[in-house]
Symmetry: C2
Subunit: 281 residues, 2 copies
DNA sequence: TTGAATATTCCAATATATGGAATATTATTA
DNA sequence: TAATAATATTCCATATATTGGAATATTCAA
């Protein structure tokens, strides 16, 4: 499914429905619910009018309308005559509630703030979600500039410090799967680049800290470390980001300790005990 | 037929739609979807296990399980053996997307940041949602302390600057409806307090700016102004909050201009033209 | 290990969702 | 303004998707 992320919306109009996200199989016996969720997601994806919705779901206008009307009644959708459907306030509510109910979020908040205060730079918290990095919290730094990422953004695993930290425990095969993912075909990285990236990942995995040396934005760098839960599995990662000027090699090394400590503190709050799940093989 | 939920039971009798768009009958023919949403909201409300869920919805465990399983498959819920159900990552996603897709949010962002920079204090953006103030954006200030409200918080209309700004256009009857709302019965405010509050509201409405003089937290004060869309209706409000020490009467007066200007700028970005919908009667 | 609590699957019965066609509501012209 | 197009909404008989009881599987607590 094409992501409707604000950073670069590809098209504003409704295109021909490509591959159908038919998640049939699991969820048998709840067709109406599934279709309702389809409606929700189609609208999140930029569809605004009934006809397009119906075409996308492969249902009649009648059925589609009934589902949409139900969602409007429950405030999951807005409907404005003329502008069509849009995501409703209930989704805002549930989104916020979800964030607050995450033990991770609660455990992390104070630590992130303190890290941001010490480093003066932007601190971010992210999780791995469907193969991409999902930013779930951010504490801005105190410099004269602002790292322009936002909570809710999604970025590629291989090109961000947070992403690399999140996959540090995976096998080299899995790493390979991530590398270059999401790149347009004409910008496929060279084999040499892949090898270098893998070599770096090995180092990061050994150290328990990952760097971003400007893969996405040349002037941006960051230091990230994985957060583990009671089972030792990586469930999130924390990073400190700044511009290259403030991220010379020595500082990145220095920060490594602090970031790792912060990650460890949050991990501890989640029930992790030192030693469980860390690199050993 | 479900009978536990407070917000339905519309049947046979001819509805006499007064001020409120009752959306009667909507949701008919989508029982499964409605029940699915019930599940979602029950879990948002703290229910975690199947038995409790079923009891709450008035459905059998089987049905409830099918719905929950479908929602898990679609990542609207998590299920962890032992901990039960919790809100899932898809809700995070949709929540963020909803926020970003609001024209209001986009129009406001830059203005809020600039206001926060000028005033050094916390700037907040809120909307009226089901009779309460819903905080949808916040730009922290630069003082040594932190206003502890968070995005996603809900507060009472009558006790916050944002809330008052949001209802500035309403009638005195409607104001009355808001006053004291949500208070425990034993803390019902006196008639004198009500009269004083109404008098203040009249002043605020005349000036197009509302103050919070410590109704909720004695040491907190704020200055808020309404944001209007193209139709002139109030759709949101912006506020600057700080501690009393920094919010002496003169400064509140000074801030009034700046806050009102900011609100006007955001309103303009939403298509509002000076004069439309402002106090006139 | 046992027993208790909880989650999950199976199935026939029917209440519930479905879509075609008719209608109402808005937008866009003439 | 009226007439047209475009879109949303309601109606209703039909059959299909959903239901819940009972059986089974899984996890948790001693």
């Amino acid at each position: 499914m094409p992501a409707g992320v604000p950073t670069d919306s590809v098209e504003a109009t409704k295109p021909a429905p490509r591959g159908r996200p038919r998640t049939v199989g699991a969820g048998e016996g709840a067709q109406t619910l599934m279709r309702g969720l389809d409606v929700l997601e189609a609208i999140a994806d930029g569809t605004t009018d009934l006809a397009a919705l119906a075409a996308r779901l492969g249902t009649t206008r009648t059925t589609t309308h009934r589902l949409a009307a139900a969602l409007v009644a429950r405030r999951y959708l807005n409907f404005a005559s003329g502008d069509g459907y849009s995501l409703g306030p209930k989704l805002l509510e549930l989104g916020f509630q979800t964030r607050h109910s995450m033990p991770l979020h609660q455990a992390a908040r104070a630590h992130l703030a303190r890290l941001a205060e010490r480093t003066l730079d932007t601190v971010q918290l992210g999780i791995l979600d469907e193969g991409v990095v999902f930013y779930i919290d951010k504490v801005p730094g105190q410099r004269r500039f602002e790292i322009r990422s936002n909570m809710g953004d999604r970025h590629h695993v291989w090109a961000t410090g947070l992403g690399k930290a999140l996959v540090l425990d995976m096998t080299e095969d899995q790493w390979n799967g991530f590398f270059g993912k999401g790149r347009p075909d004409d910008a496929r990285p060279s084999e040499a680049a892949r090898q270098e990236w893998l070599a770096q990942m090995r180092t990061y995995a050994r150290n328990g800290v990952a760097f971003d040396l400007g893969e996405t934005e040349a002037e941006l760098r960051c230091v990230a470390a994985p957060i583990r839960d009671a089972s030792g599995a990586i469930v999130a990662a924390v990073s400190v980001s700044s511009i290259t000027q403030y991220m010379q090699p020595e500082r990145m090394t220095d920060l490594s300790h602090d970031v790792r400590e912060t990650a460890a503190a949050i991990s501890a709050a989640l029930g992790w005990r030192k030693g469980v799940g860390t690199a050993s093989a």
